[in-house]
Symmetry: C2
């Protein structure tokens, strides 16, 4: 695995092999194996561990475990204690969403302060397939199916080319210790069921099922990029900015088909993701009717919709959301009815 990992990084992740990076490490088997591989490859990196304080002493032990490993290996170590429960309560989001936002906002901070360009995470091949099936079971759109990309502008995932089995074997062979990962509790039952009851049968359907699945996900990622191009092209012509307000002609919107899906895509970056039907209804509503997202207001005004950013005084969470969006969040692939 080590030789394969090194060749893989050399060929596909030159930024990891040559520049300093930040490795996100929970202390679970995946990120510990990744950390070990990076140590053995003499890569130049720091380790960041986020303590979500969700399991009291257990959480502190996780942090201590990763810290000890880092010190022993002489790796720069960052850690942070987050009040995840409080954040979730205050921002009315799930614990999962809170943990993700806190984690990625903090990673972004470290990276900015230390001029680190790349975050490296330990997601592996089975993660993408399991997430695909979980999202499928809940109902999803293409965003929930195309999987985490191997690489974005800021995040690299060198283990996506490796299977869970390879990672487990390597941990055993190297007598590596790890902590049982608590961050996936929400989906642990589902992932186990998928791993043991569904994936083996899927693999029996076709001798190269996993390879074909990767191809499928890359096609879907391309499809998603093409949809984004369509939406950008529409936004350029239809969203007219005037005095800090964006003006959109209702008649132009109404020509789009399938309308509800177009409305969802056109307004999702402004935070209107929860009730796409509301925008559809707004098109035919009385003048003055308004919708609010966490960051924006959308008002019907005669033949137009007017889109306006809320002042950050009104809504302090908007600032955090903005920081958060600097980094594409991998776990956001898991969410009910994500489109």
């Amino acid at each position: 695995v080590l030789a394969e990992f090194q060749t893989h990084c050399k060929n596909h992740f030159p930024e990891i092999a040559t520049e300093p990076f930040l490795l996100a490490c929970s202390g679970g088997i995946d990120s510990m194996v990744l950390a070990l591989l990076c140590v053995q490859s003499n890569f130049n990196f720091s380790i960041a561990h986020c303590n979500f304080q969700l399991r009291a002493a257990e959480s502190d032990s996780d942090a201590l475990f990763v810290e000890k490993f880092s010190k022993k290996q002489g790796i720069n170590f960052y850690s942070k204690r987050c009040n995840t429960v409080l954040y979730a309560k205050e921002h009315k989001v799930s614990i999962q969403v809170a943990a993700r936002r806190l984690r990625y906002a903090w990673f972004a901070e470290i990276m900015q302060e230390n001029s680190i360009k790349t975050l490296v995470t330990a997601h592996h091949a089975d993660d993408n397939l399991e997430t695909f099936i979980i999202n499928l079971s809940r109902g999803t759109g293409i965003e929930g199916l195309h999987g985490m990309p191997v690489k974005t502008a800021r995040i690299s995932r060198p283990l996506l080319a490796f299977s869970r089995a390879q990672i487990e074997d390597y941990a055993k062979a190297e007598k590596l210790g790890w902590r049982e990962d608590a961050s996936n509790e929400e989906t642990k039952y589902l992932r186990n069921k998928i791993r043991h009851d569904i994936v083996p049968t899927l693999k029996e359907l076709h001798p190269t099922f996993l390879e074909n699945f990767k191809t499928t996900q890359s096609y879907l990622a391309d499809t998603s990029a093409i949809v984004a191009d369509r939406i950008n092209a529409l936004t350029t012509t239809m969203f007219i900015e005037e005095d800090g307000l964006i003006k959109i002609a209702v008649t132009a919107l109404q020509e789009l088909k399938p309308l509800k899906s177009y409305l969802y895509l056109l307004f999702k970056d402004y935070g209107f993701t929860k009730a796409p039907d509301d925008i559809f209804n707004l098109l035919t509503a009385m003048s003055g009717k308004a919708l609010y997202s966490d960051s924006h207001r959308l008002v019907k005004n005669r033949d137009y919709l007017l889109l306006e950013r809320l002042k950050s005084d009104d809504n302090p969470s908007a600032v955090i959301t903005k920081n958060d969006s600097h980094i594409k969040t991998p776990l956001k692939n898991i969410s009910k009815m994500k489109r």
Copy 2:
């Protein structure tokens, strides 16, 4: 089931409840149940049975069986014997593709001659899920995942709202006879495995799995329509028609990203579906280099690609392909690497 079927048709398929239509009937349980439901609903329809002559006497017995049923019920009956094997050989396509083309070309003929607007097929809810999983196992794109639509301009599928179990129960309750369907031999093993080993576990993952899956497919169908809009918009600006030739600037193509997927989508309607990498390579090829599909030639000429329809003398199959494309073919969802 009968009452549910009638309400369903009244609400969602007024064209079936009020106008004459053509019912495609193989003699298998699905299409026999559909035929019976239509008889019991006093709908005005004809039955068409295509004899592909793939199983000698068995195929003739299928045809006879459907004919007898039609006569007994006083329904107008069409049948046709096709030399499927010969067609497949001559056009270098699989037996499945040959059967599909022959079938839909002939249905289109009957409909045109008799001014029938709608073809009704017996696909049910489980068909879409099974096809999704089969295509997933082989590697596919969004076209292989979004499922057959309930309704297109020319085809209605009133049984998509019903499960296989409901259809089987109704056949038993009504003591209806049917023929074992041979048209799905190619995927019969896979479908059985999926039906018995995978679908039940998927349903355990989420209490409303099937409903959620329908939602997913409708989102994916919308996504696919939005991609088609993007491709149409690009074609309008980039494909310049001059003297029966279409001229496309290479530089404009090269700006598109993800390029290979864009090339596939821009040229698939001209038959260039089998080797998308060839068009990618053509962009940087020497002037004079040409690619051929069944219906078109694509030539590199300095800074342009020139796209030209082949004369039908050169390639008689082009005519049939054209007829065939009048009706969206449901089974084309199943194909290796379909994007």
